[in-house]
Symmetry: C2
Subunit: 244 residues, 2 copies
DNA sequence: AAGTGGTCTAGACCACCAC
DNA sequence: TGGTGGTCTAGACCACTTC
């Protein structure tokens, strides 16, 4: 890898090119979640750059949670099974007590269907594309408190709708089964009143205030891979945001 | 500044010490918001470290929005007047259209009072400490849509409650008038129903769903300096979170 | 032309971990 | 003991801004 003597047509720093190459190999399955990457010096030799340049690329990947590093051991591809990663994308917390147990989930419905306009827009799908819709209720400490509708493009998730038993940790499942790593997400939060369906599934009355979180999630390679609506009864829960 | 030959009692990297020294000087008013810092080499000479170590400190400060850098020009202390900084701490957005105009504000009430337990707990105050409470309504595109209750420790904000005209960009005001720079914040979001006061001030009916955002904000030096409750009618607004 | 931050390299030494 | 990442330094060269 060389920078060459070009003036500046779409100049990209070497460490960004290194970073992209590493992401490519993770996306391509060369290095799988949990596995160790070659050492800094090995990568530097492989790519014909200096160790310092590899270090800079790996450090930015560490900040983005793509890899994690352990001194004396090595650099590893992040897995969504890690506690920190699970709670990184699950932002509901109990009001007072520390972060609760991870929620379990009851599946209400799982089907393949045409993409509604709202869903097609969010996932940038054509109007005749199919999506898999998962409808489930999250249960925390025995209480049903969040109702989720999750939409996945059929062409990315193949036969997911035929799975006998879906685990409740979906992001980990996407990663293990489809090599799709959720990398970032945008949540849009509004308030709404519980309707009849909410009331029945969350065991509350109609007309209660609910938090509604609409999420669009993007994979490591930049594809839009999940649209979800979470409706939460906030009597015991809140959504927490740290602004830094 | 030296690392010395100590084994490892509370070892701190040089670049962190450099970073802390720079923050100290910003907090102390040596370098004020908008002003330029000495160059990397000047700082390196002042602190007896290498330019690379100063660079690392400045880069982390850049990521944390404490300073910003312009190639060929210099490194500057961040100001809350910058568009990006304003919207960094204001997370409400219009549903479809791009980010709206900055809101203005109508002040409903401004007084000094004893800290209620909830407020004292959030700001870590003693029960007999005084707080300044500002009650106002945010207006976006002519619509009153957010009602805010803002609590400030009296001993940090002195005579703020005597101000004739408070600007609506408060964080910029804190910075200019008290040299208090809001650095990070934790928002806890819940849903609630509008009460009589909400209804009157936001020009809606009682029993409508509202987003309630409780914020605890921390200054550059780590002091808890603001507790606020924002109650927003989410018909036209949502709260947006980018998880990366 | 001079000065700034941005990139890239090379090398030294340290702290941590596994064997 | 050997290999890993973590810190720190020194220096070269580039890109950008200002004068």
């Amino acid at each position: 890898m060389t920078q060459e003597n070009r003036p500046s047509p779409q100049f990209k720093p070497l460490y960004e090119q290194v970073k992209e190459l590493i992401i490519e190999r993770i996306v391509g399955g060369v290095w799988k979640p949990g596995e160790v990457l070659p050492s800094e010096f090995q990568l530097a030799d492989m790519l014909n750059v200096s160790q310092g340049t590899v270090r800079k690329a790996l450090n930015t990947l560490t900040e983005e949670n793509v890899v994690f590093r352990r001194q004396g051991v090595g650099t590893f591809v992040s897995k969504h099974t890690l506690q920190e990663m699970l709670f990184h994308f699950f932002r509901f917390k109990h009001h007072l007590g520390e972060s609760a147990d991870l929620p379990t989930a009851d599946i209400i419905d799982l089907q393949i269907m045409g993409a509604e306009p709202k869903v097609a827009l969010a996932l940038n799908l054509a109007s005749d594309d199919k999506v898999i819709r998962l409808h489930r209720v999250r249960i925390i400490n025995g209480d049903p408190c969040i109702r989720e509708l999750i939409y996945l493009p059929h062409h990315y998730f193949g036969d997911l709708h035929l799975e006998a038993a879906l685990p409740h940790a979906l992001y980990n499942f996407y990663q293990n089964t489809f090599n799709i790593t959720i990398h970032n997400a945008v949540d849009s939060i509004t308030a709404d009143l519980s309707n009849a369906t909410d009331a029945k599934l969350l065991n509350i009355e109609v007309g209660q205030p609910l938090l509604e979180v609409a999420r669009v999630a993007t994979a490591l390679d930049g594809r839009l891979v999940e649209y979800s609506i979470s409706r939460a009864h906030s009597k015991n829960l809140h959504y927490e945001v740290k602004i830094t």
